[in-house]
């Protein structure tokens, strides 16, 4: 899976740019499967990407268009996908989202994730041996009524608490 060293992320979004370009030859946040959440008032930048969660919420696809690959990555079949939106609703953290009638989610670029190369802050890493290490049950509750952007924001907020506390205690003590 893709792992993050939050304290290093500058929020530049190079991961997004290179993700979108690799997958489509075009550049735009909509085309990226990793999306940086910026919480500007708090100085937090958080790239949200598929966590290969233990629960595999998105695989409850009514069209059987979603399977798990050998690296633990999510693979969406564009021919089977009917853009019904079940996966988008199921994912608690907004890591899978419909765009142009198909579900977009990190596929690890087939084993050589471009976002990792693009990051010049050394904030994101590819750890192929780590998969289904994260449980997202705590984010599942209340996630149904949120859109993917809101889910990502909620997730980033929760995951950056520790770093925020560290900053405050170190710098203003």
């Amino acid at each position: 899976m893709i792992t993050l060293e939050l304290e290093k992320c500058s929020g530049c979004s190079r991961c997004e740019v290179h993700c979108s370009f690799f997958h489509s030859g075009k550049i735009g946040r909509s085309g990226a499967r990793i999306k940086v959440v910026k919480i500007e008032d708090l100085g937090i930048d958080y790239p949200v990407v598929c966590q290969h969660c233990q629960e595999r919420y998105c695989t409850k696809c009514p069209e059987n268009a979603i399977e798990v690959g050998h690296l633990g990555q999510i693979i969406v079949s564009p021919t089977l996908c009917t853009a019904c939106g079940t996966c988008e609703i199921m994912c608690p953290v907004g890591a899978i989202q419909l765009f142009e009638d198909v579900a977009y989610v990190c596929d690890l670029c087939g084993g050589d994730p471009r976002c990792v190369h693009a990051c010049t802050m050394d904030a994101i890493h590819f750890e192929p041996q780590v998969t289904e290490a994260v449980s997202l049950t705590e984010f599942k509750k209340g996630s149904r009524r949120l859109n993917p952007e809101e889910k990502r924001l909620r997730y980033a907020m929760a995951c950056s608490q520790v770093l925020r506390e560290q900053w405050i205690s170190e710098r203003s003590g």
């Binding site: 530049c12 979004s13 290179h18 550049i27 735009g28 909509s30 859109n147 990502r152 710098r171």
Partner: protein, 603 residues
């Protein structure tokens, strides 16, 4: 098909609320490229010259570069332009962040606004949906609050917002526009134009993707640029400190403005340096869209937290006005960012007042009892609050230093350190002669970014010989050849601004050259941007800007520097004894340009 460009120009009349999308014309873009070139050409074509900058007739432009929002690192900027309320001439200011790329993804290369709304509004651009929304509830809010409130009401944290604060609403002549809370269009009062049009903010959401004419070729060029940046000898230092590294660097060569440029050496520089900021208050790097330098910083102190500051703000609120207190400067940076006010111009009004008091030209009574002793922090804080609200004395200070000095008279005009009404930046030109020339001739007034002739600081004598046949160009204290350098880097700076790229990369690190830019433009847009075409476009823009400024009322007598820099030698440090022979340099500059002795292009 037009690649890389957003593809549309948005025209909006704020009076009637009517808008229309016009397709971007490729032939026109070949002559102006984008960004600042696109904006100033639009002004040249459409703005009546004699209008009041605060009237509905003034134009307000937001221009983005052709490669912004693509793979090209450090091209995250956008430029806001209009007739400057501060100077009355060409005004514009660029900022990075994320708004420029978002505008491109929404499908736009430029927003052209005229008129004035009756009520406070903000402009929402969501792809092809254009809406003027009520901003009555946002009026009075600071920039951070405004950005957060807009994101909340649109229920979308990914909306990019350019907003003004109370300073812009109250028509402070040097009010700023901020993107992402901290990326400031700081100079020439673009926030004041927003305020005059009752435009609180521009909010943008783009869900489109930008196409590239030659994706593999463009990727290769962008990787080459990335490599040039990462292997640059200054990369680590710039990444750690950003522009704040200049505090110690400029002090080292004796040109760090201290007590309003009376000295170029600051004895307490270590207390207020970029090094100390990084060690004590920085918690992480921040970056603009798709940048690999990440030169901005997030800091936390006991009282405040924010992004920045950049060098100009840090120096303006430390050595330039005699303040030996880094935490104070960080607090002021936070305040100015929230209120939306330029640190350079506000700082210069304070420096001017402090020097006038030191010299006995003015005293406490002239300033309603405020004590303008060097470094008086209470006065600074109190005055800034008053300027933002235009309360009492703040009303006069909100007009800018030149106007302020004219109002007080008594010989204080000599100490208003400005050119054409724009307060000069924090670099003493006596020890950097090409910068001195740049301040004198810059088309928006006393500013370095119009040419940023950083080359003169590099001591690359052989390279100077190779490029221009004049070795002295690499010697910061020499004036010989500097007209040639400035003519060259003025085009390079404009190129950077047309691509809405970062000046750190384009000029300070000397990474972007004309030939490389031509290849990038061709691979990105598919238009025939040959080096000749690019050069012709740049020369055309510079000439039109000059002609427009002449229409606005400038003449050759204004292409000069304040007397301090031409007649008072620096007394200490590595630039001791230096002044700028500005008349000779400007004359040479006109000759290099092929302009007549009055500084008029021959056409």
């Amino acid at each position: 098909m037009l690649h890389a460009y957003g593809g549309h120009i948005l025209r909006l009349d704020l009076t009637s609320g009517q808008s229309r999308r016009v397709k971007t014309d490729p032939h026109f873009m070949l002559n102006v490229i984008g960004g600042r070139g696109l904006n100033s050409t639009r002004m040249h074509q459409e703005l009546k010259r004699d209008i009041d900058p605060l009237s509905p007739e003034n134009i307000l432009l937001i221009g983005v570069g052709p490669l912004t929002g693509t793979l090209l690192s450090t091209s995250a900027y956008m430029t806001i332009s209009g007739k400057s309320p501060l100077t009355g001439i060409l005004g514009d200011s660029a900022a990075g962040g994320f708004l420029g790329p978002e505008l491109k993804q929404a499908g736009y290369d430029q927003i052209v606004m005229t008129g004035r709304s009756d009520q406070p509004v903000y402009l929402l651009i969501a792809d092809d949906h254009i809406e003027l929304r009520d901003a009555g509830h946002l009026w009075g809010k600071d920039i951070w609050q405004t950005t957060a409130a807009i994101r909340k009401e649109l229920n979308d944290n990914a909306v990019q917002v350019a907003a003004i604060g109370p300073a812009g609403e109250n028509l402070v002549k040097y009010a700023t526009v901020a993107c992402n809370n901290s990326r400031m269009c700081g100079r020439t009062g673009m926030g004041c134009i927003f305020g005059s049009k009752h435009l609180k903010a521009v909010a943008v959401r783009g869900t489109g993707r930008l196409s590239i004419a030659d994706p593999p070729g463009f990727l290769k060029l962008c990787q080459e640029l990335d490599d040039r940046i990462i292997t640059h000898p200054e990369y680590d230092k710039r990444k750690a400190m950003g522009s704040t590294l200049l505090m110690k660097a400029l002090n080292g060569i004796g040109i760090l403005p201290t007590n309003h440029f009376q000295e170029g050496l600051c004895e307490y520089v270590d207390n207020v340096s970029g090094e100390r900021l990084a060690a004590k208050y920085k918690v992480k790097n921040k970056a603009c869209f798709n940048c690999n330098l990440h030169c901005s910083r997030y800091y936390v102190t006991k009282e405040v937290e924010a992004e920045g500051p950049e060098y100009e703000t840090l120096c303006s609120y430390t050595s330039r006005i005699g303040i030996d207190d880094l935490e104070f400067a960080l607090k002021i940076n936070h305040f100015l960012n929230r209120m939306g006010m330029d640190s350079l111009s506000s700082g210069e009004t304070i420096g001017w007042a402090m020097e006038c008091v030191q010299r006995g030209l003015l005293n406490r009574d002239d300033f309603d009892g405020l004590d303008f002793t060097w470094g008086n922090r209470e006065t600074v804080e109190k005055l800034l609050q008053m300027i933002v609200r235009r309360e009492g004395l703040g009303d006069a200070f909100a007009e800018g230093t030149l106007s302020l000095a004219r109002r007080f008279g008594k010989g204080t005009e000599e100490y208003a350190l400005q050119v054409k009404g724009l307060d000069i930046i924090c670099g003493d030109p006596r020890g950097i002669k090409a910068f001195g020339l740049t301040y004198a001739i810059a088309s928006r007034g006393g500013d370095h970014l119009r040419a940023e002739p950083f080359f003169e600081l590099t001591e690359r004598y052989d390279e100077a010989e190779r490029r221009w046949g004049i070795r002295e160009i690499a010697d910061r204290l020499a004036d010989k050849g500097k007209a040639v350098l400035v003519e060259h880097t003025e085009r390079q700076a404009l190129l950077t601004d047309c691509l809405t790229m970062c000046k750190n990369i384009g000029l300070s690190m000397d990474i972007l050259d004309f030939e490389f830019a031509s290849r990038l433009l061709i691979a990105g847009t598919g238009l025939n941007f040959t080096p000749e075409k690019v050069e012709a476009a740049l020369k055309g823009v510079i000439e039109r800007d000059r002609l427009m400024n002449i229409d606005f009322g400038i003449d050759a007598s204004m292409d000069t520097l304040p007397k301090r820099f031409t007649h008072e030698p620096l007394r200490k440090g590595a630039s001791k004894g230096q002044v700028v022979p500005i008349d000779r340099m400007v004359k040479e500059y006109y000759e290099v340009k092929g302009w007549d002795k009055n500084g008029v292009p021959r056409g």
